[in-house]
Assembly symmetry: C2
């Protein structure tokens, strides 16, 4: 077979696998949006079947042979070319996937589908015991997963590598160790200053208007409604069914403005990233985001660096006041800006402020590592959560729904994912420094409700590349250094010095 023909054959097989995975993703999206309660068992079977088929096709001997045969050909190509990257990244994933038996994949799909339903019930009734046996199975499966990759430096490494290719547990621990004391010190400084008020966020806000305002903003960001839509779910997420269909979800509370507003901006950030993938990457493993942390850097940038900035609200606050005159007419722009940036230990990660957010992540990672190492038993997790939470944040969750049961991730088997959130914050700040150097009048543009230069920059430097580069490699190419906590600390210190008068 000629190399060109081999490449064609490889691409056709990868397109087929991509289609199956996207169909499975739709099954998942539907499960979280519209599926009736009794549909869970059938859904579990369907997901297990599709994932098993995708897995079998992914690790098929034919793909292995094609990848092998193409090595000499692609070694002569520009290593940054699409074809070279496609073969390299597919090969890396193939070498991992081939170690995982299909039976494990099917069991994992089945277990997590049922666990998701159990988690929903457990959270709604605030009863961890409903979720416990499912979570035990999930950590057991995760442990077995790690063993497929023995020997490893750390039992948590194979899990992390699924979300952050090339990153090790030790790397993350180093980064977190560097930033943890600085964040704790900043929080301590802030706690000595007079607290800002944010009671106005907890008034009664019409849910449809909240939805509409979010839609208005992300439309200005550049979210393309011809290629997407928004629905309501318990836990917001973004999902891609291809270049032409990238959807987000949000949640709306009747008496708390922040979740819908900032949640919508956050998911729009993810969606803009996927919508910006070069169309030639569609139906290949290179479509989408470079890694979960790079993805989070995009969502957190739009949510925080943009959406919680003063210039942003200089533009949008009058509009928000029009939506909610009775709630906000007497709240000044400055008071609103301070209120949405109030630093205060709180229970819910996705609603946490920028200074405490990473602490939520660090405690989750420590618990995950303890669980997968077998040092902590799932039945003891609620107590461990509450103890650890009090150590990090000085408060104890009033119940499991606002504690250990708050996140959807574990129910879906997403072990090893949480660190990406904190890394995303750091990367966002690294990029933000760079962008502001390249677009010196960006704050002025944002003050005019103008986001096209920002989006173009991100499209050019980040989005269009999809998964062509590993996360550390991509950051290195852009910033000249690896993931670095310093810009995030500079960003936090500057912002909160202004707000709290440190």
């Amino acid at each position: 077979m000629q190399p060109e023909q081999g490449l064609q054959e490889l691409k056709a097989r990868l397109a087929e696998i991509s289609d199956i995975n996207r169909a499975a993703d739709l099954l998942g999206w539907d499960q979280q949006t519209y599926m009736p309660p009794s549909g869970a068992e059938n859904r579990g079977q369907q997901l297990a079947t599709l994932q098993q088929i995708a897995h079998d096709k992914t690790v098929s001997g034919e793909i292995g042979r094609l990848l092998e045969d193409l090595q000499p050909y692609v070694s002569q190509l520009d290593p940054d070319s699409f074809d070279a990257r496609l073969v390299r990244i597919t090969k890396r994933k193939y070498d991992k996937d081939v170690k995982v038996p299909g039976s494990w994949v099917a069991e994992f799909a089945m277990v997590t589908t049922i666990a998701y339903e159990a988690w929903g019930k457990a959270r709604a009734t605030n009863d961890f015991s409903i979720f416990q046996p499912h979570l035990e199975k999930i950590f057991d499966l995760s442990h077995r997963y790690a063993e497929f990759f023995a020997p490893y430096d750390h039992v948590y490494d194979p899990a992390v590598d699924n979300f952050e290719p090339g990153l090790k547990t030790a790397d993350i621990k180093t980064i977190f160790s560097a930033i943890r004391p600085q964040q704790l010190e900043l929080i301590r400084q802030i706690s000595k200053r007079p607290q800002v008020d944010n009671l106005f966020l907890h008034l009664n806000y019409d849910m449809q208007k909240q939805w509409d305002f979010g839609v208005e903003i992300i439309t200005k960001f550049g979210y393309d409604w011809q290629r997407g839509r928004q629905d309501k779910t318990l836990h917001p997420f973004t999902t891609s069914f291809g270049w032409g269909d990238v959807r987000i979800t949000t949640r709306v509370y009747p008496n708390f403005l922040a979740p819908a507003l900032f949640g919508t901006l956050h998911e729009a950030g993810h969606a803009l990233y996927n919508l910006g993938s070069d169309r030639t990457l569609d139906r290949t493993p290179l479509f989408g985001g470079a890694s979960s942390s790079i993805h989070e850097s995009q969502s957190r940038m739009w949510e925080n660096m943009v959406g919680r900035s003063l210039p942003f609200w200089q533009h949008f606050y009058p509009r928000l006041q029009e939506y909610f005159p009775s709630q906000l007419a007497n709240v000044s722009l400055n008071a609103f800006y301070k209120g949405i940036n109030r630093i205060q230990p709180s229970f819910i990660r996705v609603e946490a402020d920028e200074a405490t957010y990473n602490l939520h992540i660090m405690l989750r990672m420590e618990l995950e590592i303890a669980l997968i190492e077998g040092i902590l038993a799932v039945k003891d997790l609620p107590d461990a959560w509450n103890t650890s939470f009090h150590e990090y944040l000085g408060v104890t969750p009033p119940d499991n729904a606002r504690g250990v049961l708050q996140d959807v991730h574990w129910s879906g088997g997403l072990i090893g994912y949480f660190p990406s959130y904190a890394l995303g914050n750091l990367i966002a700040a690294q990029l933000w420094e760079l962008i502001n150097k390249d677009i010196p009048d960006l704050p002025e543009q944002i003050r005019c409700g103008e986001f096209s230069s920002l989006l173009s920059w991100l499209r050019e430097k980040v989005h269009r590349h999809g998964r062509m580069f590993e996360p550390q490699e991509l950051i290195q190419r852009m910033t000249g250094s690896k993931i670095d906590p310093a810009p995030y600390m500079r960003y936090l210190t500057k912002k909160y010095s202004d707000i709290y008068g440190l």
Copy 2:
């Protein structure tokens, strides 16, 4: 391999195929409910891929061998047992499917997905030319499909057999020829009588209240919301993702009460059928309805025999008046009953009355046959439609949206499906005579809003069997005769003699 082991192996393979088909059905459901416009191309690829995989697995040599090996074993079983039926019906389908190349299946999926989008645009803009090239491809594919089954008695037979196993074009022509003159004569008789008024149906009706009233009724029918849901689509339909998840859709117009109301009852009739399948049939080819006409017999029974009957409205009309006092307070029960049963040639099939409905079907079947025989070109279809429509119903559609573009079926490649609708009416009347013999006080029960005896009868005699029997066989077992137009004519004549005083 022991026969029991072979059966297990066969069931596991059929369950896998069922899962893939249901995932494809979800892709289709999503396309019609929530998919953003630009998602169509990706969706077409995904559907093509899944259908190709399902087809390849369906016609795999392994299944062929298992079916062959199991013949001696099942020939010793009770021929009505689940295992014997499963092997027999799977074999019948296998022998058909194996004649269809996978490339045809993938092309058909791709073409129909794109055609569906084109049809939506064509209908919205009333421009047949947008849809024409797609419909040409679909009839070309249908013709090629028929050729896989040559020699056939009639080129339309292979299409019909997909929806009515065992039925031939000639059978249907015989049935239609018998009933056509009788229906035309009934309509002629009615046209000589004073017309009843139904203007009150065309007032402004709050859309949410229409939705709520429909939900209230089908809940009383026994529709299980734990195992289903309702959404809005251009064209209402029912779809099953398994025993635990059977969904319906409806459409609501702001100034016409009938479509949402009777459409909801109609789809609920389909859904009750699927929800009543014995759970052991789930994930096998025996789950669901015996055929499209048997399915239609259920939907038409709940819509018409129940939902347009006087006893039904004796119970529900006061409730409907509570929902819509300003529109209906001055409309008597009798006037309402007559109004919803008004006989009048109209353009839209799904809104047609019980006397003219079958004529809509007959003209579609004739056009389909002419198209697939090559006697009629797709480009000439709108004219042919209008001419034929005038011959049958005495009126000419004002535009293509209310004419040739009204139905979704052709865009989805459902050629040969329409006859099932008319057959369903006839079967519904056959069953209705039987049910009323078995449950003599049924009208009284319906007058009390009580449907459980009716549903139990249908569950026992029809629903639980799923696809265990072919349509003619099932009817024969219940009524002692094949599909027979006489009960439907008796039903129509009695009902409309009362309403129009014939």
